[in-house]
């Protein structure tokens, strides 16, 4: 899965540009399947893209049966030819990670680029990683250990 560590995100937009380029050959935010929200006053940026839910509501709700799980990559993919553009998946998605492509008039979402996501390969800070689900939460342990270290050091 693509994991996101907002603490490392600098809001450089490399991921967004490259996602758009991979999808549509341009550098438009509206064509990217990843979004970056920057909160300037709070000095904080959050990248967000589909987390490929194990129980994918978007897939369950699709009336056209246009969505399926790629068994190899684990990605939930949209069959552009089957999609009827009803936007049910967009409503069902709990994280707002599906958008409507105004050119093709169908839904669009992250498909993990076939197992080698372009956003991750162009993330310069390391905020985005493509890793095994079992590894994805290790950072929590590392974080707490480091915080303890700092606390004990400054005591």
């Amino acid at each position: 899965m693509i994991t996101i560590n907002p603490n490392k995100c600098v809001g450089c937009l490399n991921c967004l540009y490259e996602c758009s380029f991979t999808q549509s050959g341009d550098f438009k935010a509206e064509n990217a399947n990843i979004r970056i929200s920057c909160f300037t006053e709070e000095s904080f940026c959050i990248p967000f893209t589909c987390v490929q839910c194990s129980k994918a509501w978007c897939m369950d709700v699709c009336p056209a049966n246009a969505m399926s799980r790629n068994q190899e990559t684990g990605a939930v993919e949209i069959d552009q030819h089957r999609c009827i553009g009803c936007k049910m998946c967009m409503m069902a998605c709990p994280t707002g990670s599906i958008h409507f492509d105004t050119q093709t008039r169908v839904s669009s979402k992250c498909d993990l680029c076939g197992g080698d996501p372009s956003c991750v390969k162009h993330c310069i800070s390391g905020a985005l990683k493509f890793e095994d689900e079992s590894k994805a939460f290790e950072y929590k342990q590392t974080n707490i250990d480091n915080q303890m270290k700092q606390l004990l050091k400054t005591r």
Partner: protein, 687 residues
């Protein structure tokens, strides 16, 4: 079936030199991705790397030599062009002397090997007048650190507990330094960012220090003051390994937190917090100074003051501090001993002797003046390679005038630009994908190979051009290698690493393991062999021995006609200096340059987002649309305008006569300006 192959080489879309896997189909580049195992970029790249494909196959690419005629540009054969240029160089040199020719090396070919070739050619041609982008970038920092330590240290970011970034935004200038900073932060390191603007990296800082432009030196002295006052430094170490400590400590006295805070325009608590954070993290404190600090009148001494922090935190050549990296030990292309030319009055050497003695760089601002005045002697010809000083040097109008005054201007480039437009000959140059050279990644002491991936028949690489010109001008003996791979093999000879080894190791080869505390092993490369808190060398050249702080002009002598302080040249991710503006998707993403302003300043002048603004300095004016920032993104009274845009060239505003007295660097930041709204019916130009 089409033939697909992958060649690993190094990117040069910026100065990060990421290792890249270039995919070719039937000899045409179809994809560029990060090389998995190189320690610098670890399989990733920024978005500029893949755009190299657009650059090399761009329809506007120069592919034939051009000669200026009364009827306009005329295509000529490469050999004819080189013959004619050689003939003209001979005529100029016999009429005005060898020193009347010069080589100007821009940023786009890179440094190290390419830079040394240009210097070698200039020297072999008998001219001590080598000009380059080093008059604007890198050298102030190089000199600042070299004067104290005998070398410029590298920040050991990944092992650091406290990182200080001064006037730099790695995400746009050195993308993969971002990863190093973030990895350290993940392990618990604190990040402190000094910048009048809230940059991308500033968003992640533990402490932001939004100090006034050019006051970094005062801030550094404020920190020095606290380290000395609180006796946080290792006095025994200082006594043993430094010179000038008592004068240094005496000078620090006046930089009390109150004085420093007032000078920098920050709260007193900020300086106390930063000092304490550094103290708690000592010796794992690393400092990195960016190009931003170089463009001030007191730039060099500001850098020197910052460098002194390393001995106070004990981080000098310590793990997690700032390390004296070791060089590869390759053969040297310099000809200064074989062809000594110092007696020929190198331009700028008298005015900026430290710059000339330590870098063999002739100050470009002085050289441009010389071209116009012929004083002390005429400069009549120039080979300009991979640079566009009309866009990147200060006082653009004068740069153009100076270049136009030459009898011969030869420009080697890959696209038409303002300098090509006034040239006598334009030679199509090779891009980084069309040449072979070696690069070292200092932080890891790794050497990697850049290898030729494709070629275009008449687009010569730098070596081939210098080689062919040298043959024609009668000093071919200095360029004996058949081609760039043969030259590169020769350079590698003393290292025990061969071209073949490098080809077999796309991840690069570590040439020496990283070692710390090398000051224990013997003298430093500074004149006294110690850390020079005071420099006799500088004193003997009429400069202050201490890294004194002098307030920028806009603070010391404000001028009511120019109430705003303009910072120029904050980097944009997609553009690199004047490059990449012709890549359509880049242009779509960042279509125009924008003048950044604090919301209260905009409100007081009744200006709105997107208004066309005329910016005026003492020497010129330029127009740009306005962008009103959030109140924490830029200091009140400060403005920021990006550089590198053709029709909105900020260097029409910047000064070539306000120079750092030691390094000769021009004032590109902290420029005093005024702004006014342009009537709505006047269209601003966008290139």
């Amino acid at each position: 079936m089409s033939q697909r192959e992958i060649v690993t080489t190094l990117c040069r879309m910026c100065d990060d030199h990421c290792a890249i896997d270039v995919s070719l189909e039937d000899g045409i580049i179809v994809d560029i991705q990060g090389q998995e195992n190189h320690p610098w970029n670890q399989g990733r790249t920024c978005t500029k790397a893949r755009a190299a494909i657009d650059m090399v196959y761009h329809p506007d690419r120069l592919k034939k030599p051009l000669k200026r005629t009364v009827d306009g540009w005329q295509e000529i054969e490469l050999e004819t062009a080189l013959d004619e240029i050689a003939d003209k160089i001979r005529k100029i040199q016999s009429k005005y002397g060898d020193r009347s020719m010069t080589v100007w090396k821009g940023e786009a070919t890179g440094f190290n090997q390419q830079e040394e070739l240009a210097k070698r050619f200039c020297q072999a041609m008998g001219s001590p007048n080598y000009l380059s982008v080093d008059s604007l970038c890198f050298t102030t920092r190089y000199l600042g650190y070299t004067l104290q330590y005998g070398a410029w240290t590298a920040p050991d970011l990944e092992n650091s507990d406290c990182i200080l970034l001064w006037g730099t935004n790695p995400p746009t200038s050195h993308p993969f330094m971002t990863r190093m900073v973030m990895d350290a932060k993940e392990k618990g390191a604190k990040l402190i960012v000094m910048d009048p603007r809230l940059s991308m990296i500033g968003r992640t800082a533990d402490i932001r220090v939004p100090l006034k432009a050019g006051t970094d030196g005062a801030f550094a002295w404020g920190l020095i003051h606290l380290f000395i006052k609180n006796k946080w430094a290792d006095q025994k170490w200082l006594d043993q390994y430094t010179v000038g400590y008592s004068k240094f400590a005496k000078y620090a006295k006046k930089f009390t937190p109150e004085f420093t805070a007032a000078e920098c325009g920050i709260p007193v608590e900020t300086i106390l917090q930063v000092a304490e954070m550094m103290h708690l993290s000592s010796p794992k404190v690393s400092n990195y100074v960016g190009n931003g600090l170089e463009h001030y009148q007191n730039g060099l001494n500001n850098v020197r003051a910052i460098s002194c922090l390393d001995v106070l935190t004990g981080s000098f050549d310590e793990k997690g501090g700032n390390i004296l990296t070791e060089s590869l030990g390759a053969n040297d292309l310099a000809l200064y001993n074989e062809v000594p030319l110092d007696h020929l009055e190198p331009i700028g050497a008298k005015k900026f002797p430290v710059l000339y003695k330590l870098r063999h760089e002739n100050n470009t601002m002085t050289a441009l003046d010389t071209m116009i005045s012929d004083d002390p002697y005429p400069i009549k010809g120039m080979i300009l390679t991979a640079g566009n000083p009309i866009r990147t040097n200060p006082n653009a109008k004068k740069v153009k005038e100076a270049l136009e005054s030459l009898d011969l201007l030869v420009v080697r480039d890959i696209f038409m630009n303002e300098c090509c437009e006034i040239a006598d000959y334009i030679l199509p140059a090779a891009t980084f994908l069309e040449r072979t050279d070696i690069e070292t990644t200092r932080n890891y002491q790794v050497v990697s190979l850049r290898q030729k991936v494709i070629e275009f028949p008449e687009c010569q690489d730098e070596y081939q051009f210098y080689h062919d010109m040298a043959q024609r001008l009668g000093f071919g003996k200095y360029f004996p290698w058949k081609d760039e791979p043969e030259l590169t093999s020769w350079l590698l000879e003393p290292t025990g690493i061969s071209m073949e080894d490098l080809k077999n190791h796309p991840e690069g080869i570590q040439y020496k393991p990283i070692r710390y505390r090398k000051w224990e092993e013997g003298d430093l490369a500074s004149p006294t062999g110690k850390v020079e808190l005071t420099s006799d060398f500088l004193k003997s050249h009429g400069n202050d021995e201490l890294p004194v702080y002098i307030a920028p002009e806009f603070i010391a002598r404000p001028d009511p006609r120019f109430p705003f302080t303009l910072i120029t040249g904050a980097r944009k991710l997609l553009y690199f200096h004047s490059r990449n503006h012709n890549i359509p998707r880049f242009k779509e993403a960042i279509p125009i340059p924008e003048l950044e302003i604090h919301p209260e300043d905009a409100e007081s002048l009744n200006l709105k987002d997107g208004d066309n603004i005329e910016i005026t300095s003492r020497i010129g004016s330029v127009t740009m649309p306005l962008k009103i920032m959030a109140s924490n993104e830029i200091l009140k009274g400060h403005l920021q305008a990006p550089s590198g845009w053709k029709d909105n060239n900020v260097n029409l505003l910047t000064h070539d006569d306000i120079l750092d007295p030691i390094s000769g660097y021009p004032l590109l930041k902290g420029v005093m300006v005024n702004i006014s709204k342009v009537a709505d019916d006047v269209q601003y130009l966008v290139d």
